[in-house]
Structure formats: structure tokens, C-alpha cells
């Protein structure tokens, strides 16, 4: 018997509930677990969830994210890392994410910090040039 669209829609509440209850991070950890079966099943669960989340309308996807009343700083120390994690999760590179261990995370953090410093440095240098133009000969 083929499933109706309405029933199939309700099935996806499991994927949504996994996000709501914060189990995605745990599944991501388990996708790098020592046991082959655990690794395989956790990766499969994440992949199945990803399929579901990608086809959700943006407003529903937004509603899944935990509500936080506290204002967040625009340039928080964690934000580049979180953004990179979110990109890895939602824009493919799943295999990369599986081997995303502590060492890789640290390397990424260092790279992101260096990149941020570089950008700030470039802006300052540009500002100096604009503010103090050289005199005509």
C-alpha cells in the first residue's frame, strides 16, 4: 500500500524532533565512533535527516532552531566555527564531516582566526590609505 503524502509528512517529524531535542550533535560524534556499525547507522541517520531537512520550507526550518532570547554578539569567537559546521552539515561534504575529529576542528579554528586577523589587517591598511592620501609632487 502506497503511503499518502499526509502520512509521509508525519514520518518526518522524527527528523525534526531529532533537531529539536539536540541529538544532531551527538549523532555527529557517533558518526566518528570506533564501532563500524555505530558509525554506519549514525551516518545513515544523519543522511536521512539531511534529506528531510533540505526539502523543508525555510520558515519551518527556522522554527526548528532553538529559541534564544539573549542577544548574540556579531563577532563572537565561536561564530565562524559554527558557521563552518553548519555549512558542512547542510551543503554536503558528508564524508569530510565523518572524519571531522578534534585535530581537524582545532586546525579549522586556527585557520579561521588567522583569516579574520588578515581581514582586519587589510581593512586597517586600506583605511590608512584613504584617510591620509599622499601629497602631489
Amino acid at each position: 500500500m502506497a503511503l499518502s503524502v499526509a502520512v509521509a509528512w508525519r514520518v518526518h517529524r522524527w527528523a525534526e524532533q531529532t533537531v529539536r531535542l539536540g541529538a544532531v550533535a551527538r549523532l555527529s560524534e557517533l558518526a566518528a565512533h570506533g564501532s563500524e556499525n555505530t558509525k554506519k547507522y549514525a551516518a545513515g541517520a544523519l543522511r536521512n535527516m539531511q534529506v528531510r531537512l533540505l526539502e523543508m520550507p525555510p520558515d519551518q526550518l527556522k522554527a526548528l532552531t532553538p529559541k534564544d532570547d539573549k542577544p548574540k554578539p556579531m563577532f563572537s569567537r565561536e561564530s565562524p566555527l559554527n558557521q563552518a559546521r553548519a555549512l558542512a552539515l547542510f551543503h554536503g561534504s558528508f564524508a569530510l564531516r565523518l572524519s571531522f575529529g578534534l585535530g581537524a576542528r582545532l586546525r579549522l579554528r586556527i585557520r579561521l582566526r588567522l583569516k579574520l586577523r588578515l581581514r582586519v589587517g587589510l581593512r586597517r591598511r586600506t583605511a590608512l590609505v584613504v584617510t591620509f592620501p599622499s601629497l602631489p609632487p
Binding site: 509521509a8 522524527w14 527528523a15 531535542l21 564501532s35 556499525n37 551516518a43 536521512n48 534529506v51 528531510r52
Partner: protein, 160 residues
């Protein structure tokens, strides 16, 4: 006495929800045996019978049983009942489990080393979208990267 008759006794006597650990273990053992040999139309009938008998509720309760073996058996049964290869109407079982509050209990099994393998396996099947399965040729075909990791996963081979 055949397996079907034993299953009827399990359901009639509500052995899965019994206060006696021995009865719960016996009920789980019979249910596991039945699920492990059921396919196709018989799987659909079994799923319907179990849902109509309200089995998702005691199964959910067994996920937090004090006995580790019983927790793992309940996870194995849930994982298989939520596989399309066992029951083509597994979406209804997933819905019944969600209504019974299995989500909150199941996610706790992810924190325990002894149960996390079967918890992940069950979650993989619970989060699976039947619309992507190859048995629906008219459904939208997924791009290779976004295809489910296991279209119709079953946990049976992993169990001794």
C-alpha cells in the same frame, strides 16, 4: 504451539507491559522471533496487528527498562518494525511510536555505550523518508548526494 499462537498470547496477556521481568523477556523474545521471520504482506499484517494492539506503548516503556538486554531487544524490534523492508506501512508505526513518546526515551539511549548502536540503527530507520525509496518509481528521484544512506535498511543480519 506455533509462533502465531504465542504472539497472540503475548498480545492478549500484555506480556510486554507485565510487571514481571520474566514475562516481559518472554514476550520480547517471541516478538523478536516473529519479526525476524516476517516479510512482505505478512510484515504489513504484523505491523497492523501490533499497532492495533497498542504495542508501541509498552515497547516505548521497555526502552527505559532496568535490564540492558531488554532495552536492546526493544530497540532492535523498533528498528525493524520501522523498516520498509519489514512493513511497507512502517510510517504508521513511526507515527504511533512518536505518539507514545518514544522520541524522548530513544534519544537517551544515544548516551549509553551499550545501547547506542541499536539506537542509531533505529533512528536511521525512523528518520527515513519512504518517498525516496526505489520502490516508488513515480516519486521524485533524489540526487546521488542527497539520497538516503539506506533506502530500506534492516537490522536483521547484525543480530546473532
Amino acid at each position: 504451539m506455533g509462533l502465531d499462537e504465542l504472539l497472540v498470547i503475548v498480545l492478549q496477556q500484555n506480556l510486554l507491559g507485565s510487571p514481571s521481568a520474566d514475562e516481559r523477556a518472554e514476550g520480547l523474545g517471541i516478538l523478536m522471533e516473529k519479526v525476524s521471520v516476517t516479510y512482505g504482506a505478512a510484515g504489513s499484517s504484523l505491523g497492523h496487528l501490533l499497532r492495533a494492539s497498542g504495542v508501541p506503548v509498552p515497547l516505548t516503556a521497555l526502552l527505559s527498562d532496568v535490564d540492558l538486554a531488554m532495552r536492546n531487544q526493544a530497540l532492535w524490534i523498533i528498528g525493524n518494525l520501522c523498516s520498509d523492508s519489514v512493513d511497507v506501512d512502517s510510517a504508521l508505526t513511526k507515527q504511533a511510536l512518536m505518539a507514545a513518546g518514544a522520541d524522548k526515551v530513544l534519544f537517551r539511549c544515544l548516551d549509553e555505550e551499550a545501547t547506542l548502536e541499536l539506537a542509531c540503527a533505529a533512528l536511521q530507520n525512523l528518520c527515513q523518508d519512504p518517498r525516496w525509496a526505489p520502490r516508488h518509481p513515480r516519486s521524485r528521484q533524489p540526487a546521488p548526494l542527497r539520497a538516503p544512506a539506506a533506502a530500506r535498511p534492516s537490522l536483521r543480519p547484525a543480530w546473532p
